[in-house]
């Protein structure tokens, strides 16, 4: 489904034609640029910072290879690259860094419906869930920056349409919406672990 956007195979060596010293300098710039930001850096932004003639994708590939397995790794997320802590270090980090509350089940279901049916109106979400949706659920998702209005539906009442944001992709570590499981893959295992 989601092909990495034209990334070559992850090999640590630079493009054959690139001057090694220049490529090493490009790696330094890339590391600093991506590290400085708290949002993913798209390859196009990275290219602006690199010396001319350096392929940003080659730099990304090289940086991914060198940071793999390190406490802070380079990952592809939300259309760009960002540094993220290794998941196994979370227990130690959360002793010091405050962790937000988990989203309640209703909010997670609403988010899943918006992700798969976007843009969707509140009535459409309620129709799929077979239950009314409280305003506070929608507001919580909005406040977390996971969803955003996407215009209005041209039906009586002109209800707002909702879609997911790049922040949604970041929250769940997705490169793009195409990273979501396809609908056909969403089949319950023999013993469904879901219970009301």
């Amino acid at each position: 489904m989601s092909e990495p956007p034209d990334l070559p195979e992850p090999v640590a060596e630079p493009m054959p034609e690139a001057d090694p010293a220049l490529f090493a300098h490009a790696l330094r710039i890339a590391e600093a640029l991506i590290f400085a930001s708290d949002r993913p850096i798209p390859p196009a932004r990275l290219a602006q910072a690199l010396p001319p003639g350096i392929d940003p994708r080659a730099v990304i590939t090289s940086l991914m290879a060198t940071t793999a397995g390190r406490p802070v790794e380079l990952v592809e997320v939300a259309g760009g690259v960002a540094f993220r802590t290794a998941p196994e270090l979370a227990p130690a980090i959360t002793k010091v860094v405050e962790v937000p509350r988990r989203l309640p089940r209703v909010a997670m279901e609403t988010l899943a419906i918006i992700a798969y049916h976007q843009p969707a109106t509140r009535a459409e979400i309620e129709e799929i869930r077979g239950a009314s949706l409280s305003q506070s659920t929608l507001e919580a998702l909005l406040e977390m920056g996971l969803i955003a209005p996407r215009g209005r539906k041209e039906v009586p009442g002109r209800p707002s349409l909702w879609g997911t944001t790049p922040r949604f992709l970041e929250q769940f570590g997705l490169k793009a919406l195409t990273d979501l499981p396809r609908r056909e893959e969403l089949v319950s295992e023999p013993a469904p672990p879901l219970s009301a």
């Binding site: 997670m108 279901e109 899943a112 799929i128 239950a131 769940f172 570590g173 499981p181």
Partner: protein, 254 residues
């Protein structure tokens, strides 16, 4: 059909569809192959028990119950070609809705298994400012410069103190003297305008001179020096030297 163990905890379900999905899952087959009739029976049984315990049930539960009972009755009788609604299609639509709700539940569960930012993985906590604002440029162009000049000049000029134009006005004294000088040489009636000073072009000054001359004429007429005559309103005013005996009544007539 084994009766599922039901504890009437409808509050635990998010609406009738949620309960239906739960019951359908209990059939432990593919959602596409569930028995709608068995599902309807189970749903109605749960609702019946719930109503025995407490009478009030939310409207959406009752609407769903009524619709399911109707659907079941249609499914039990052989299909009628004249029937407008196809019961099989309605049952399939219900199955589709349950399947979609199931898929969305699974999608939510899949999302919940992901490492979440700020919980399992962390991004840079203290981002660095990567934008530098260069404010050395000036946002100004030639039209703006010219407009500014014109605006400043216009405002300054408008603010200058008002100095009225100096006017040379023909006084009543001037008019008396001129009238006295000219009237002696007058043979007969003459128009008052002839006694105005010459060379007046400004309309304001012309009107002032006319007024002064008229006052001078009235004054002279009162002294009996001249006679005045006006045939109609706004008509020409005529002047002549008075005969010493008949001056006064004519003035009254004017």
């Amino acid at each position: 059909m084994t009766q599922p163990v039901l504890h009437l905890r409808l509050d635990g379900f998010e609406g009738p569809l949620d309960l239906l999905l739960d019951l359908a899952r209990a059939q432990k087959v593919d959602l596409e192959k569930i028995s709608i009739i068995a599902l309807v029976d189970q749903f109605l049984a749960v609702l019946e028990q719930a109503r025995r315990v407490r009478l009030e049930l939310a409207a959406d539960w009752l609407v769903m119950a009524a619709w399911l009972a109707w659907l079941k009755s249609r499914l039990l009788v052989p299909p009628d070609p004249a029937e407008e609604v196809d019961a099989e299609a309605l049952a399939a639509a219900l199955t589709d809705r349950l399947a979609e709700l199931e898929r969305m539940r699974l999608a939510a569960a899949w999302l919940a298994t992901r490492d979440q930012l700020g919980r399992e993985v962390f991004g840079r906590g203290a981002a660095e400012q990567l934008r530098i604002e260069d404010r050395s440029g000036i946002n100004a162009d030639l039209p703006a410069l010219l407009q500014a000049y014109a605006a400043a000049r216009r405002r300054a000029l408008a603010r200058r103190p008002y100095t009225p134009k100096h006017r040379k006005l023909w006084t009543v004294q001037d008019a008396l003297a001129r009238l006295g000088r000219l009237i002696g040489a007058l043979p007969d009636w003459a128009v008052l305008h002839r006694f105005l000073p010459e060379g007046l072009t400004d309309p304001v000054e012309q009107r002032a001179a006319l007024a002064s001359t008229l006052i001078a004429a009235l004054e002279t007429a009162r002294g009996g020096g001249i006679q005045l005559q006006q045939d109609r309103a706004f008509g020409p005013i005529l002047v002549r030297r008075a005969a010493p005996t008949e001056a006064i009544p004519d003035v009254r007539a004017a």
